[in-house]
Each structure stands twice: as C-alpha cells, then as structure tokens.
C-alpha cells in the first residue's frame, strides 16, 4: 500500500467512525472499546458483502436450476 492509498483508507475509516455512533453497551463483560468501535466500522462493509453473497447465490442457483431443467 503506497502512502496515498494509506491516507485515503485512514480518512475513509475516520469518516466512518464519525458517522457511526453506537449506544452504551451495559454488558456484564467488557466488550472492549476497540472491538466495539471496530465492529461499527466494518459492519457496513460486511453487511454489503452479505448482500452481494446472497445475490450471487441466487444467481448461481437460478442458472443451475435452469440448466437442470434444460437437461431434463
């Protein structure tokens, strides 16, 4: 990663942190500040990944189903 892309990544992450505000934990175990904030930051990314994955699965199953139907 060169310096410019690193600055870009850090800025994006900082912006994300600014926009994600999370409610107080009230947990009996310590969720950990760094762990809590980290989840909030990557949550959006992983949510998007899950959507893409679901879409991909549907697409694959659509074509495999069609192929199976064609083969019959």
């Amino acid at each position: 990663m060169d310096a410019r892309s690193r600055i870009f990544t850090v800025s994006v992450l900082m912006l994300a942190v600014m926009f994600v505000v999370i409610p107080v934990a009230n947990a009996y175990i310590d969720p950990g500040s760094g762990s809590f904030i980290f989840q909030a930051v990557v949550g959006g990314l992983l949510a998007a990944a899950l959507v893409v994955k679901g879409f991909w699965r549907r697409l694959v199953s659509f074509f495999t189903k069609r192929r199976t139907a064609d083969e019959r």
């Binding site: 994600v20 505000v21 999370i22 409610p23 107080v24 934990a25 009230n26 947990a27 009996y28 175990i29 310590d30 969720p31 950990g32 500040s33 760094g34 762990s35 809590f36 904030i37 980290f38 989840q39 909030a40 930051v41 990557v42 949550g43 959006g44 990314l45 992983l46 949510a47 998007a48 990944a49 899950l50 959507v51 994955k53």
Partner: protein, 468 residues
C-alpha cells in the same frame, strides 16, 4: 447468616459461576441447579416465550432444562430455579482438539443467528459455555441471552474472537498443540498475542486480516480511551450484525488442519510391534473385563484413536478417550461424529501433566481427578510411558490411577517388549524396579486384583483391579 441476608442453606454455588449478575449454578444434594436472578428475569422470559428456547433445544444447540420449585441458593434477588439436563462430563476448551473447538465455534454462531431471528442476542461467547453433550457441542448457559438492544454491535464479539477465532487460527497456521494456550489465557487468547504468533500468510485470508489483525490494531488504538465506546444515538443495523456473523462463520469454516499423520495416529496402521493375534486377544480380554464390571462411565487413558474406547461404548458406557496426541484425538472425534456416536468424548490430555485446577482462587476449572472418578479406567499400553519415559515410580502410578477410577483395566508391558526398548534405546536403564512383580505389588496396594491374564504371544499381562 440468616436467610434474609442471603443464607446459602445446604446449597453450594459452584466456584466457576460468579461473574454474571444474571444468576449462577449451584449443587444441592448432588443435583445441579441454575438460579435466575430478578434482574435477568425479563430476558429469561423472552427466551422462553419467543420460541428461541424450543428452536435451540430442538436443534440440539442448547441444554434443555426444567423450572423447579426448589428454593434458590441465595434468596436475595432470586427469581427462579432451573434444573438443567445433567452433563456426563465437563470438558474445557484447552482439552479439545481443533475440530472440536471449530464445531463449538460454529455452534455458537448458529445460536447467535437463531437468537437474532427471535429478537435476542448472546451476552457472552465464552468457549467454556459450550460443552459436548451426546457427541455434539451445545450451549449450557441458559442465561446467556438478552433482549437484543437495538442498534448496538455484538457485545461478545471480542470474546468470540479471543475464545474461538484466535486459537483456531493459531492451531491451523502454526501448530495444533497451541490449543493448550487457552489454559493460560482463560478469557481467550489476547489478539495482540495471536497476531504476533501468526505468520504473515494468515493476513491473506480476509477474515483473519479483519477479525484478528485489524481488530487487534483497533484495540491497541483505543486501549486508553477514557470515553466509553459509545455516544448516545445511532444504529448498528441488523444487516451489519448478520454481516459480522456471516464473516466470522466464513473465516472459521475456511480454517483446517494440515494433513500430517502423527506417529501415534498411525500406531495401529503399521502395528508391526503388535501382532494381530495378540491385539485380538487383548480386545477379547478387555471386553470380558468390561462385561464383568458393567461400568456406566469409562476413562480410556492413552486411548490413541479410541480402538478400545469403542469396546466400552459398545457395552453402553459413556467413555472419555484421553490422549496426549492431538492428531489422534481429532481423528477419534471426527470418526465419532461421522458415526453419530453419542457416548464417546475424545479429549487431549497429557497424563504426565494433567489439567490442573485453574482460574480465580484456583477453583474455577477443575482438575481431571475432581471430575471423576470413573467407574472404570482403561490404561492399555500406557504404564511404560509413565514409569519409563516419565520416570514415575510404579506405586505413584497406582496411586494416581486409584484417584481416577473405581476399577482399573491395566496392561503391564515388560521391559523386554519392543516398545519399552524403543524408550530405553538412548538412555541408561535406571529402572531396576520395573518388573512384573513390583508392578503387581504396587497395583495390589491400591486395588484388589480380580484377574491377571497374560496376553498371548506378547509377554504383556492384563490386570483387572477393584479399588480398595
């Protein structure tokens, strides 16, 4: 102490059950109960009314329980007493093989996903909350669920990564023996330690890069934050929550063990040292002895891949197959899982340094002996490893085995046996007392010797002893 100020009556809260204000487990007249405190009652009621309890119990992911009339162990703040279905044996994550820890991790994620479906969430993700019951991992802490606080990330994310993902990655990328690191770090492997030990190539896996490396970095960055990790409003969406869980699942499913066969795993495969005839005779004798004892529980020490443990489970006994070799234990677990075996629990244990009492005031996690005794202990092809490889005097071997079981099926392996000669090949024979006579004497001091049968063509002798 009066009952009003929390008199404990005849109940003893278990020493490992003090962290959670929601409740705790206690034992009364030998039966295990779980007290639910008022503070947690709404969450417990939601577990039962939302359909989550039936869903999880139906899928074998949560221990079933009954609500009972019994009085609580501590009256103050008490709301309800539960009697969970009893477990046959409590094992700890540092005794599990890779596949066991991996299955426990995946079960935890499945439970959390089901909880989300019912508007609830796990408040903790400790590997100690998972136990193997009838061959499968399930959650034993009925009070781990809370109503899902809207918009909040998973409070147990850090704990999940430390208890499951970090040790699994270390076992997969470095060495399976690192599973025992969990006995040093009871709240899971600190992520900075895990990433320091993992090779750079682990970063190539996006899930590990994210949940271990970047996560550890974020922990470091915020370690000295004075503000709580929380402002006031805002949302962590349900989709984000599910995204995190799905990513964790993918990361764990992607981890495996390198395929190397250990010396011990191949023990019977190339068993030149053990003529098949002698092996058959030994099986026949073990089966006969077990039929005589009719044990309900058996501990097979040095079980290898569990060939003799199977004789015990076939006879109906719940059997724990202990071995020091990780590959053997993992093999035995995978075999048992495929076969749908419900009576076998393979565990990693170094008998020369058995699991100690650890945790707060050295009482949270019990020693192996404290979790017994078993009705019968099998110690086959084992005594030479203890007495010669580890220099333990024979009377001390008998003492410890008497602490573990009420009956003992033990094989004496004479000094001229090929396997003993291997152990002695590079060292001075400082074992003048390692003889059949001294062995019998040592055994006799602790056990009434019921049978003493030579194993044909091997020079070995099989004993059945009943503890004095």
């Amino acid at each position: 102490m009066s009952e009003e100020d929390g008199g404990r009556g005849d109940a003893e809260p278990l020493p490992g059950s003090f962290r959670d204000p929601a409740g705790f487990v206690f034992r009364r007249e030998g039966t295990l109960f779980r007290q639910v405190n008022e503070i947690h009652r709404p969450h417990y009621d939601r577990l039962m009314s939302s359909g989550l309890y039936e869903d999880l119990v139906g899928r074998g992911l949560l221990i079933p329980h009954a609500e009972v009339d019994g009085s609580p162990a501590v009256r103050q703040g008490a709301s309800l007493v539960l009697r969970p279905e009893p477990l046959r044996f409590v094992s700890y994550p540092y005794e599990w093989s890779f596949s066991q820890l991996r299955d426990a991790a995946l079960a935890t994620l499945r439970i959390q996903e089901a909880a989300l479906d019912h508007g609830m969430s796990l408040r903790d993700a400790s590997a100690f909350n998972v136990q193997f019951h009838e061959g499968r991992p399930l959650l034993i802490d009925t009070l781990s669920f809370e109503e899902l606080p809207e918009g909040r990330p998973w409070v147990a994310y850090r704990q999940f990564c430390q208890h499951f993902l970090a040790p699994l990655a270390l076992m997969s990328y470095r060495d399976a023996r690192l599973g025992r690191l969990s006995s040093v770090h009871l709240d899971g492997i600190p992520l900075d330690l895990a990433v320091g030990l993992l090779p750079k190539s682990a970063r190539l896996r996006p899930g590990l890069q994210l949940h271990l490396f970047s996560h550890a970095k974020s922990q470091r960055r915020h370690a000295s934050d004075a503000e709580p990790a929380a402002a006031s409003r805002g949302k962590f969406s349900m989709q984000a929550f599910r995204g995190v869980l799905d990513s964790l699942r993918g990361s764990i499913e992607g981890l495996g063990l390198p395929e190397d066969v250990s010396v011990w795993e191949d023990y019977y495969g190339t068993a030149a040292h053990y003529a098949e005839e002698a092996m058959a005779r030994k099986e026949e004798l073990v089966r006969k002895f077990l039929a005589e004892i009719q044990p309900d529980s058996v501990w097979d020490l040095g079980a290898n891949v569990g060939r003799f443990s199977k004789l015990a489970t076939e006879g109906g006994a719940f059997t724990v197959a202990f071995d020091v070799d990780h590959a053997c234990v993992d093999h035995a677990y995978r075999d048992a899982k495929t076969a749908g075996e419900t009576k076998l629990l393979p565990l990693v244990l170094d008998l020369t340094n058995p699991s100690p009492a650890i945790g707060w005031s050295n009482a949270e996690r019990a020693t192996v002996a404290e979790r017994g005794p078993a009705d019968a202990v099998l110690a086959l092809a084992l005594v030479h490893h203890l007495a010669i490889a580890n220099n333990v005097p024979l009377p001390a071997v008998a003492d410890y085995l008497a602490a573990l079981g009420r009956h003992l099926v033990i094989e004496f392996v004479p000094k001229d046996d090929q396997m003993v000669q291997v152990l002695l090949r590079n060292r001075e024979d400082v074992f003048p007392h390692y003889t059949a006579e001294r062995f019998t004497e040592a055994l006799d001091s602790r056990f009434e010797i019921v049978h003493r049968e030579p194993i044909a063509d091997s020079g070995r002798v099989l004993f059945l002893g009943r503890r004095r």
